[in-house]
Amino acid sequence: MIPAKFEYKRASSVSEAISMLGEHGMDAKLVSGGHSLVPAMKLRMSRPEVLIDIKRIPGLDIITEEGNEIVIGANCTHTQVMRSELVQKDVNIVYQAVSRIGDIQIRNRGTIGGSLAHADPSSDYPAVVLACDAKIEVEGGNGKRSIDAKDFFLGIFTTALEEDEIITAVRFPKVANGTYFKFYQSASRFAVVGVAAVKEGDHVKVGVTGVAGTPYRATAVENAYSGNGDAAEHAVDGIDDIMSDHFADEEYRAHLAKVMVRKALEAVN
């Protein structure tokens, strides 16, 4: 388990990281917690020539309250997010999801920015940012922009990020009534199915991860929702790329999606 040779650089500011990205282009990769990238590098499935370490950029690891929003810096580790009183109080759904990521070591290293940028179809954060209508704040050669969660995930390991863009923070509207349910894969403990549900008035917003190549908003569930768990039957309506492996084939995964959506809907009631 030894990676191919690479050069290591540390960026001390967001703008420096962006210019390093501009300089090295496709040959470079950002690294934050390293807990998705380094395992792939050890297997030589990923072989960047330059690693740009952004973990120590000042200001990217803080959690703040801005009006009706909680803003989590991209470099915040899962543990940091989990322990934040702001998160526990105002976006408890994030706390619920993050506390179930991997194990202690993973949570101590992995970051929200890395998780979203990596876009592993079985990771937990996507369901939550979708259900919360969070905004992903990014900065690149062309300046800053804010991407709606629903526009962020484009496919397996694929996002709307441009090559020279960095996630700087994630902006969550406060959530009064939200929940996260996860059925984990017994080896990796990633999500076979993860469901986030947020209730606002009579409406519910449901984000689903683990089921399809791209995490999605279960709009069919949201439309059919009438205050109980029955809408869960629509959990995979319109999803034509349900994933399959030896832990869960398409049929079972679809079933689990319905079970987890039902539990989530019942919990936010």
Partner: protein, 788 residues
Amino acid sequence: METFIGQPVKRREDDRFLKGAGKYTDDIKLPGMTHSAFVRSPYAHARILSIDTSKAKTAEGVVAIYTAEDGCGAFGVPCGWQVDFKNGETMREPQHPLLAKDKIRHVGEAVAIVIAETQELARDAAELVQVSYEGLPAVTCPKKAMEPGAPKVHDEWEDNASFDWCIGNDRAAVEAALEKAHHVTEMTYKNHRVAPNAIEPRSYIADYDVNGDKWTLYTSTQNPHLIRLLLCAFALGIPEHKVRVVSYDVGGGFGSKIYHYTEEALLTWASKEIGRPVKWTSDRTEAFLTDAHGRDHIVHSKMGFDKDGKIVAHLTDEYCAMGAYLSTFAPAVPTYLHGTLFQGVYTTPLIHLNVVAPFTHTVAVDAYRGAGRPEATYLLERIMSKAAKEMAIDPAELRFKNFIPPFDGVKEPGYQTQVALQYDSGNYEAVLKRGLEMLGYEDFRMDQAEARKNGKLLGVGISTYIEGCGIAPSAVVGALGARAGLYEVGHVRVQPTGKVSVFTGAHSHGQGHETVFAQFVADKLGISMDDVDIVHGDTDQVAFGMGTYGSRSLSVGGSAIIKSIDKILEKGAKIAAHKLEAAEEDLEYAEGKWKVKGTDKSISFGDVSLTAYVPHDYPEGLEPGLDFSSFYDPTNFTYPFGTHIAVVEVCADTGKVTLQRFVACDDVGNVMNPMIVDGQIHGGVVQGVGQALLEEVVFDGEGQMATGSYMDYAMPRADDVPMIETDRTTTPCPHNPLGVKGAGEAGAIGSTPAVVNAVVDALSHLGVTDIQMPVTPQRVWKAMQSKK
């Protein structure tokens, strides 16, 4: 005076393990040492069209690159056990080359070795070796491997069978009894393939020394002397006295480090070629791809009962995968370590097992914790519980009806089975009674009925196992095809100061020999444990030995040490008698002193030791020194047994199984250190639970392993198991001096069927009668769906 036998003495070796101060092979760095990496096949079955090493040879830091064309092509590693076809045809035994020659037979088979100045450079250069392959269809299932037209693993034979074999009573008689039986229970299933997953991956350093033309091989093995023997006499043909094999600390083996692997022999050969030490340490994915696996039996079984629920006959046919080549003990595992346990703890009068052992396009299958006995136990205990359900008899009751009655092997003779072996001593009713009591079986059944009313799925599963340990009487295993004797060597050297060094041929890779062996040595000599050191794992220090596997260390290795201690006390008595001016018959030995009976005249062990080495005033004609080595060849196997009971809850929505309780009442004979026995049971139970619920090596249609890392191969974690409730009964082994039976594998043997029985029990009212292991949420859900 403090005594140690039976005390939960803390493990002495843990001090260095817990401080990170253990000395594992990969920790060793020799001057001038090179590193190696292997070029391994991505195909399960392929023809090698060409290998181009030219680019790699010029890469930075490369010392040498070898393929099968480069002189090592003539060598192969041997198989240590021969099981012939039942029609008399000799076992088909392909050469197992150190590097693949023309053909690839499993994913991960090595094609070339790249030796470089650092591990990183070796890896980099290995990527530059260009191999072109012509992919061929592969077969990974042992049953499919025997179908007409199946892709052949070895072209020289007409089909994939390595051998076929049977044991027990005449097949026709067994079939006739089944015909007439009142009830027949039938099962077809797979005892699936699992990967051993020792925490330390395999690691080797070969160091050839021109001065004296000597080799040292540092290796993470369970049996250094056996490796030396196989390496010298069979693999490379080099002189045994010129080779030293060292295995200091080894981080677990579970069987997978018994075998002589190709990498060990290749590194030894290569070190002489380049005149420098060469190291290789496996990474985790290489471990999944190249360490010998366990299990992989496809089973079809019938058990017949009379109207009272007594077993009348048992017939089983199995296909048991060997993998691409025959690993060191592979042929013995599904045969003599498996079929010989088909009697179980029951009085079954007629038994027949037939085993077909095909080659498959997979890494080898060999002994994995329990080796053949977990597979036998799984079969017997699943089929007993299934039969109980079918006949509407309580599963505990059915077992009580069929138990072999208690026998101690002294007053009552051993129990002669229908499958060759004779059990030493046993009391099978007692462990089940105790297990049921620990669980509160009757209360549980009431809770279960209540829970069902509320839609909660609770189940209980019982397993009453027996196993064979203390491998083994050499003449017996020799007659059964073993190419080695299975005695053990125990050498006790009393130093002039009365301190004791014990050299054992057994090898500790987690078992705690340094503690347990010192406990009984200290007691037998009446000295402090601090005055006893246990030395193992170095062929230059330990005269000889057969290593550790098959729960043999204490019963065979310990007995050899006892023999030497007896010789020491006998000689010591002569010296003491001389010094005390008394007759030997008038002496007694206790608390580290020879005493003249009925007087207060005595001489200490230390004074006798000193006299033996400073023999100024000494018995005439007696040799100086106090140093004895003994070989102990057991007269029989030992037969631990026990009852394991699991309680599970199944989630009706998702099919997920939660293990709520696990009760183990084991009988491992006399117990030297109850804490260590508990630890062995805990570890074994978790491994057995792992097989039942989580672990499985999965191949796709091309023979690719879908489970080559911990992202996809599910190991049990602490939160997958409840606190394990243990207790013991004690039925001493009548044929070895310590009365011990062995505890290393029992946990893994008894637990697996208990868990699966519990899951099936939880779903039985829905009509579910069987579920394929591992009992994953998906499988459970599908089983429930199929009954809707």
